[in-house]
């Protein structure tokens, strides 16, 4: 169906190859996962497989052979591929072209000449399968990021293409929505090609391919997800459960069996590690907070009360649309007009007057934050706005660039940097004012394992030096790695605030918050009832026999 032989591609002659010798054969009906770190060439490959390169973006140089149904892609006109191959862009929000969910879902099939009735029937059926029937009449601008991503995926599936290509389709979805999306695309009748930065969703695919430096370097069946060393070398990282078990196991039970066989549990270490820490005083107290977006029929937040302790690292979790981002934007002073309740900063009410600098907010998408011509100017902006002396600005900016490893690109255009580095620039530009509380909105989204580890190391270091960190995340692996306490939201209300281990151990609480424990958490519970949150804890508590 698709044949790529020694395929090379570069966007400009003076740039290096984005794809460097890709060989790939895809048969009809296959379900393929292609995983690679940032810059591995995934997006370029996805565009070539969809025919967008060279038919719509044909400015680069292509070598080798790319065939679809035994005919070179370059021999087609794009119109011939309409309805046959569909690609979900990495920037899925940019791909949405209508104003309501229903209109978006019928847009593609109607443009293929299908009647409104037929298109609407397909849209309603798929929306029901995906559990978003309630969104059909909603205005897209009012949806959360996850709801928009679901809409974007479905808007392609309603056209019933032969080949569905999804470039990082799970980035904004909570665990349950990820599972629903994967179940749905698993049942997709045609050929499915999904690009991801990890192999965590390996079980839904027949074939897993690993991409590095513009080439497909290895691949195989589901067992590829257990090749820990090879995945680490590719900058992807294996699922923690396979890291712990030492390789691929088809079920949780068999992975647990392997762990029991090779490791011994150190109960003393576990009890020391799980001992409750003395809780410091609160830096921020939220009491009975309510908030509604202008014109919205319902409150986005209702009766929210919790505390952020001084110097802690708090993870905020919850399903898409649960109010995580709204709550944190209110605390950061971005949405100052909340309708009810109070927020106290060090015991003083800060209603409508949270000063910039007290709470720094780092956005999920760094591109919404960046605007200066150089990395230095970008980071210096907040200090200059405050009227700081230039010598002081230089000193502080240089210091933070050193912390983030950005010194070498001080004079570079921030937009020319890879996503991981842009995220670091965005982070540094907020942290340079030394806010007491740092709020990070989905800091791990779109980052590969190496970039994620590098960013988290910096953030943990800042936390160890007394900064209070709040991280919003829908990744349970990330939530497990962030600090000791967790705040779980559901439907705009707090369902839990407290110790992470207690939260993940309590199945009812986890369900109420619409989140899911990771495979490693489930395995540790299965083994002896003692929950371990991440591989670091596992390595401490389970010693090799």
């Amino acid at each position: 169906m698709i044949e790529l032989s020694a395929l090379k591609y570069k966007y400009k002659n003076n740039l290096s190859y984005a794809l460097n010798g890709v060989n790939l054969s895809i048969n009809s009906g296959e379900k393929i996962l292609i995983a690679g770190k940032n810059g591995a060439g995934k997006t370029t490959l996805s565009k070539i497989l969809a025919g967008i390169i060279p038919l719509l973006e044909g400015h680069g140089a292509m070598e080798g052979e790319a065939l679809y149904n035994s005919r070179p892609y370059s021999g087609y006109i794009y119109g011939e591929l309409r309805g046959k191959i569909s690609l979900l862009f990495q920037d899925f929000e940019g791909q949405i072209v209508s104003t309501t969910v229903k209109e978006e879902l019928v847009f593609y099939p109607m443009n293929l000449g299908r009647t409104y009735g037929e298109s609407l029937g397909a849209a309603k059926g798929l929306a029901a399968d995906f559990g978003i029937s309630g969104l059909l009449d909603r205005n897209i601008a009012e949806l959360s990021g996850g709801e928009k991503q679901k809409t974007a995926i479905l808007s392609l599936m309603t056209a019933r293409p032969e080949i569905l290509i999804l470039d990082e389709p799970l980035t904004d979805l909570d665990p349950y929505s990820q599972e629903a999306a994967l179940e749905m695309i698993k049942n997709f009748k045609g050929t499915l090609i999904v690009f991801e930065q990890s192999v965590d969703c390996y079980e839904y695919f027949d074939r897993i391919l690993i991409m590095k430096d513009g080439a497909l370097i290895s691949g195989g069946g589901k067992e590829t997800a257990g090749e820990v060393l090879s995945l680490d070398e590719s900058g992807i990282g294996a699922p923690e459960i396979f890291r712990a078990a030492g390789g691929y196991f088809p079920s949780l039970k068999s992975a647990c069996g392997a762990i029991e066989k090779n490791y011994i549990f150190d109960a003393e270490k576990y009890s020391r590690m799980s001992a409750e820490k003395i809780s410091p005083a609160a830096i921020i107290q939220v009491k009975n907070l309510s908030f509604a977006y202008p014109g919205a029929p319902e409150n986005a937040l209702s009766g929210v009360s919790f505390e952020i302790k001084k110097g802690e690292f708090l993870a905020v979790v919850g399903a898409n649309g649960s109010g995580k981002t709204t709550l944190m934007k209110i605390i950061a002073g971005i949405y100052p007009d909340f309708s009810g309740g109070e927020i106290y900063y060090n015991g003083v009410s800060i209603r409508r007057q949270m000063a910039p600098g007290r709470a720094g907010y780092v956005y999920q998408n760094p591109d919404n934050q960046i605007f200066s011509e150089t990395v230095f100017d970008e980071i210096a902006f907040a200090l200059r706005v405050k009227g700081a002396a230039e010598s002081g600005v230089r000193e502080k900016v240089n210091a933070i660039m050193k912390t983030f490893g950005l010194t070498d690109c001080s004079g570079a255009d921030p937009f020319s940097l890879p996503k991981g580095d842009r995220q670091k620039v965005a982070c540094a530009s907020v942290l340079v004012t030394e806010p007491q509380v740092i709020i990070l909105d989905e800091p791990t989204t779109g980052l590969d394992r190496n970039s994620y580890d590098a960013l988290m190391e910096i953030i943990r270091d800042l936390n160890s030096r007394g900064r209070t960190i709040v991280a919003i995340t829908h990744s349970m692996e990330a939530a497990a790695g962030f600090g000791d306490r967790i705040l779980a939201l559901s439907g705009g209300r707090v369902v839990y605030e407290g110790d992470k281990k207690k939260f993940f151990r309590d199945g009812a609480l986890v369900k109420a918050a619409n989140v899911k424990p990771t495979g490693l958490m489930e395995a540790s519970m299965e083994l002896n009832g003692n929950i371990l949150l991440n591989y670091g804890e596992f390595a401490q508590c389970w010693r090799k026999k």
Binding site: E57, V97, S98, Y116, A141, G357, Q369, F371, V385
Partner: protein, 253 residues
């Protein structure tokens, strides 16, 4: 939040066929433009406001009320001084107000506001898709109709990018909504670069997005079953034509 006035509601006006909505808009414009009597303009304005209540779209009125009020006031003041009559009523140096200026200014202010209210009512009960679909149903080629609606779609693209950037910069101490006019203008300068870059990027992606979803200017779309032209639509159009004819006849008389 939405940048549009349209909100899906189950009201008589929302349920109208998009062709009825667009024809009614043109006829409302005709009535507002043709009417020369202040009292009729006032009755017309009250009727439009009643329609906002009937279509549960008073939120749009609240959003635009201050702006429309300001426009009405400015129109009244400007016409008061620029109305060129024959009999002077008041003069102070270069400022001359002629007899009849108050009536004329009030009429123009009301007419302008009624035109704006008619447009706002349309935008409150008709979606972008209603607009482009009605053009298609009137026989306008799909590519042309879609291009008209694309300009509205781009408003969302830029507005969304703009508000995200304003938010991100507020956090870093650059609040464009604070301070005097000069400081506000200065604060908006750093917003322009990311807004333009983001806007261009998103507009570029939108073009690709449209192509990737099967859109082509030469496409023909089949709207069969999407809308139903009912007896109510016919009744509304007849009533609107009758009112417009009356307004034109009164103007000519």
């Amino acid at each position: 939040m939405s940048y549009f006035f349209y909100k899906k509601q189950d009201t008589f006006l929302h349920r109208l066929d998009p062709r009825t909505k667009i024809v009614s808009l043109l006829l409302l414009f005709t009535i507002a433009a043709a009417t020369r009597e202040i009292y009729i303009q006032i009755v017309f304005m009250l009727s439009l406001i009643a329609l906002f209540f009937a279509s549960r779209s008073t939120g749009s009125l609240r959003r635009m009320g201050t702006l429309f009020g300001t426009i009405a006031f400015m129109t009244f003041i400007l016409w008061l001084f620029f109305y060129d009559g024959r009999v002077k009523m008041f003069s102070a140096g270069p400022v001359v107000i002629y007899k009849g200026a108050f009536y004329f200014s009030a009429l123009f202010a009301l007419r302008f506001v009624n035109l704006l209210l008619s447009g706002l009512l349309f935008l409150s009960v008709a979606s972008i898709e209603d607009f482009s679909d009605s053009l298609v149903l009137f026989g306008v080629p799909y590519g042309v109709a879609f291009t008209f609606s694309l300009s509205f779609r781009l408003v969302t693209v830029f507005a969304t990018a703009g508000s995200a950037i304003v938010e991100a910069q507020k956090v870093r101490g650059n609040d464009p909504d604070r301070g005097g006019i000069l400081s506000r203008i200065r604060s908006y300068v750093p917003l322009l670069i990311p807004l333009i870059i983001n806007g261009i990027k998103k507009a570029e992606i939108l073009t690709l997005a449209l192509e990737s979803k099967g859109f082509s200017p030469g496409n023909k779309i089949n709207l069969k079953g999407k809308y139903k032209f009912t007896a109510y639509d016919a009744l509304v159009i007849c009533a609107m034509f009758a009112l417009s004819a009356a307004a034109i006849a009164a103007a000519l008389a």
